[in-house]
Amino acid sequence: MKLIFEQGAEGHCLHLLPACDVPEYQLSAERTAPLHLPHVSENELTRHYTALCRQIHGVNDGFYPLGSCTMKYNPKIDEEMASLPGFTKLHPLQPEETAQGALEALHILGTELGEVFGMDAVTFQPAAGAHGEFTGVLLIKAYHTDRGDTARTKIIVPDSAHGTNPATAAMCGYQVVNIASNDKGGVDLDALRAAVGPDTAGLMLTNPNTVGLFDPNILEITKIVHNAGGLCYYDGANLNAVMGVVRPGDMGFDCIHSNLHKTFATPHGGGGPGAGAVGCKAFLRKYMPGPLVVEQSGKFGFEYPEKSIGRVKLFYGNFTVCVKALTYVCTLGKEGISEAAKNAVLNANYMMACLKEKFDMAYDGPCMHEFVMSLTRLHHETGVSALDIAKGMLDFDLHPPTMYFPLIVHEALMVEPCETESKQLMDEVCGIYCRLYDMAYTDPGALHTAPHTTPVRRLDEVGAARNPVLRYRFEA
């Protein structure tokens, strides 16, 4: 498709701003470099973006079982509430007494998510999951630093973890100790016992883990780390499986992030904005990023924690994303939250049961909200890879599952259907997956070259990285 720079013509424009009603001011030195921006009429502009949007697959376009990403339905009321001018037109530095509703919204959401997490304090400053991890690990770092315990230089991360975990630990100045998983995909207790020591700052763990299983040894795991003097960080990427059923705080974790754009139904927007709410136990509150929202006799205001790690972002985080999450939490309430979790688990187990007749599962069930299939055997027998099967799904208007993750499973496809999908749709999808499986034996060539019906076909990624073209070049 043509780029916006190739649309329209010199002189095409929108009429947006009035003439200047005060004397025009010139600077002593102004820009001389050319500024190439599109020349389009309003009609040309909107057609261009409508055409782009036609080449996007969103949750609204169909099934989106991207494991680890929790692509549940994004309720429309949440969007409507977040676009109320009473929220969108607020200046972040206007006096607190003129923003009581916004502060109250953050306060309610903080209290309610604290209850879901089993944590005592919550901040919404982090903008995304990885940003929340960064904040959480800094709480651990601040805790040890404050106690003068500077020998703790290592963070333990299982080899099944999301890449953000080791990357976060490294950004926080820690050495990463990777520990192997056991044959059930969980933490190997002996490996953990061998890894902890006086240099352990903490453990970062996802539970249910990235193979979709709840680690039954979780209390023992957090105890081993605590006994060694370390703290436990909960990566909330998979919280959707357990919210309202069991709480990270009760598993022994000291701090947590939760992706509001996964578990709490705020949309992903093509990769953001999300929000990475961070919760912690009372003893870590004094290190939280400032400011935190507090209530005093019915009035809401800001407070800087005593030994704050400082800000991690401008102002108070992705505020209107929090408004969407609050709308969602108010809608679900006490029963709805656990009902969502249980149905997410039900749907994943149902799809797993339907698919295991053909596909090999990496681990036995029951799973939590997602499961991992290993296509190693299929690949060996037919030459058709997980990538080929995933690309084949595109020709059926399906978004494929997460591919090649977690790294500890070969030829992995990780399926997370979410609670908002119906049995009818899952039956249809399982039918298509099984058809693709059969095709691997009957017509592998068609899968090697899939997709065939998409706006573009398989793209040359190696070439893109080798000779990077990262912007449009205008003619001089």
């Binding site: 720079f5 005060v22 080449q55 697959h57 409507e80 972040p92 530095l93 080791p166 006490k334 029951p366």
Partner: protein, 440 residues
């Protein structure tokens, strides 16, 4: 109450039987019994959509939306063309994930490629990433781009937005990096102090342009000083001002970052905003975050993919250039639509309106006895000296009564900001109101 679950009780039974379990509880068999919540969460019951709307609307109504805003300090209320919201509220765009499956994500990828191009045009740099969380985190993440084994110390001008400095400090606490604040004189970075401060271990110097006080820095000179010491020169710029001011590239910057909020995003009580990062070809592979590149498909058709991912956490894990995964993609797309709608002429007109109106207000306030705190050239923000906190309060209260949010209180003064949204009439009303307070 609803949880958006479509499954009926009968369907649930069929599903459980296919799975081979008796109850939903059995699915949680791996969870130690003593940990299960016995009485559920201590939360209110769920609400119907009608009730939720009432509740959220009531919260929104407790906030006061000022008709006129003369406050910036890192968040700017600008005009947002109607096409921006119309385009960016499309469901495909709002509800899709990071474009891992390029074949069905060309719209997001191409829109991001166009955004990267526009950021390069605004800043004069060679390459831009797909976005960062905001201007402050973008600023903080330039430091690891500049550090190496010998050059380990970062410098930032004291005339930078204090919140940006605070975020840089937090990131430096994380990575055990020394960060020095270079003092300002008369509201601008002290060039002599910078020269004296930079040592052989200097990795980078960060300068905000226009700076926190609205002043236009002698960036070329400060950049030369940084380069003479062997440090990288990083500029944090306002994207609207970029249309009028010499580009970071012309001023010698190695990296240009900023907050893209003024490009079509609401002030929204602080977020979501948009961090942008642009740099030279030489530093391209050190950029954090997603980058979209152009390539061909198997039929030779042009298409777009996420590229240079060997820098990123999902490939490199603890050796990645950053841990960033989700960014502010929809905000970047929004900025792209905004810049397309404005065009070169619109951007220049917007910047001209901002600077002209800011100077009109400054001159008007001076005429009634306010003193400008700093003497240098400014863009759309400036500080008036009002030493007594009580006077500042009375001025701001009097303006609030006229539905005007006056400037932000900064040490010893008020930091005013004027954008194209404020008419001459409102500026005259502001001046008259301040005059009344001063002469009361």
């Amino acid at each position: 109450m609803g949880s958006y679950v479509p499954t009926t009780a009968a369907e649930r039974e069929q599903m459980l039987s296919k799975i081979g379990v008796e109850s939903m509880e059995e699915l949680y068999a791996a969870v130690p019994r003593e940990m299960l919540l016995q009485d559920g969460l201590d939360l209110p019951a769920g609400l119907s959509e009608l009730e939720v709307r009432e509740r959220m609307t009531a919260l929104a109504e407790k906030n006061r939306v000022f008709r006129t805003v003369l406050r910036g300090a890192g968040s700017y209320r600008h005009f947002i063309p109607a096409v921006v919201k119309s385009v960016t509220s499309r469901e495909e765009l709002v509800t899709c994930y990071t474009p891992y499956q390029a074949e069905i994500s060309q719209g997001v990828l191409q829109g991001t490629f166009e955004f990267q191009t526009m950021i390069c045009e605004l800043t004069g740099m060679d390459v831009a990433n797909a976005s960062h969380y905001d201007g402050a985190t973008a600023a903080a993440e330039t430091i690891p781009m500049c550090k190496d084994r010998k050059r380990t110390v970062a410098y930032v001008s004291a005339a930078t937005n204090p919140q940006v400095i605070e975020v840089m400090k937090t990131y430096c606490f994380a990575s055990n990096t020394e960060l020095h604040v270079v003092p300002a004189k008369d509201g601008r970075t002290d060039a002599e102090a910078l020269k004296a401060a930079l040592g052989a271990d200097a990795a980078c110097f960060y300068l905000q342009q226009p700076n926190f006080f609205g002043q236009i820095e002698d960036a070329a000179l400060l950049g030369e000083i940084a380069h003479a010491a062997g440090a990288k020169f990083v500029m944090g710029v306002n994207p609207i001002a970029c249309a009028l001011l010499p580009t970071p590239r012309e001023l010698g910057a190695d990296i240009a970052v900023g907050d893209g909020q003024p490009l079509g995003l609401d002030t929204a009580f602080g977020g979501p905003y948009l961090g942008f990062m642009a740099t030279t070809g030489a530093l391209m592979r050190k950029l954090p975050g997603r980058i979209v590149g152009q390539t061909k498909d198997v039929d030779g058709k042009t298409g777009y993919v996420l590229t240079l991912s060997a820098r990123e956490q999902h490939i490199r894990r603890e050796k990645a250039s950053s841990n960033i995964c989700s960014n502010q993609a929809l905000c970047a797309f929004t900025a792209g639509v905004y810049l397309a709608a404005m065009g070169e002429a619109g951007m220049k007109q917007c910047a001209r309106l901002c600077i002209s109106k800011a100077h009109y207000l400054a001159a008007g306030l001076e005429k009634i006895g306010c003193r400008l705190k700093y003497s240098g050239e400014f863009f759309h923000e400036f500080v008036t000296e009002t030493a007594c906190p009580d006077c500042r309060r009375r001025i701001l209260d009097a303006l609030a009564e006229k539905d005007i949010l006056g400037g932000a209180e900064v040490d010893g003064g008020i930091l005013w900001c004027v954008t194209e949204l404020v008419s001459k009439e409102k500026l005259d009303e502001t001046i008259a109101t301040v005059k009344e307070v001063l002469h009361a």
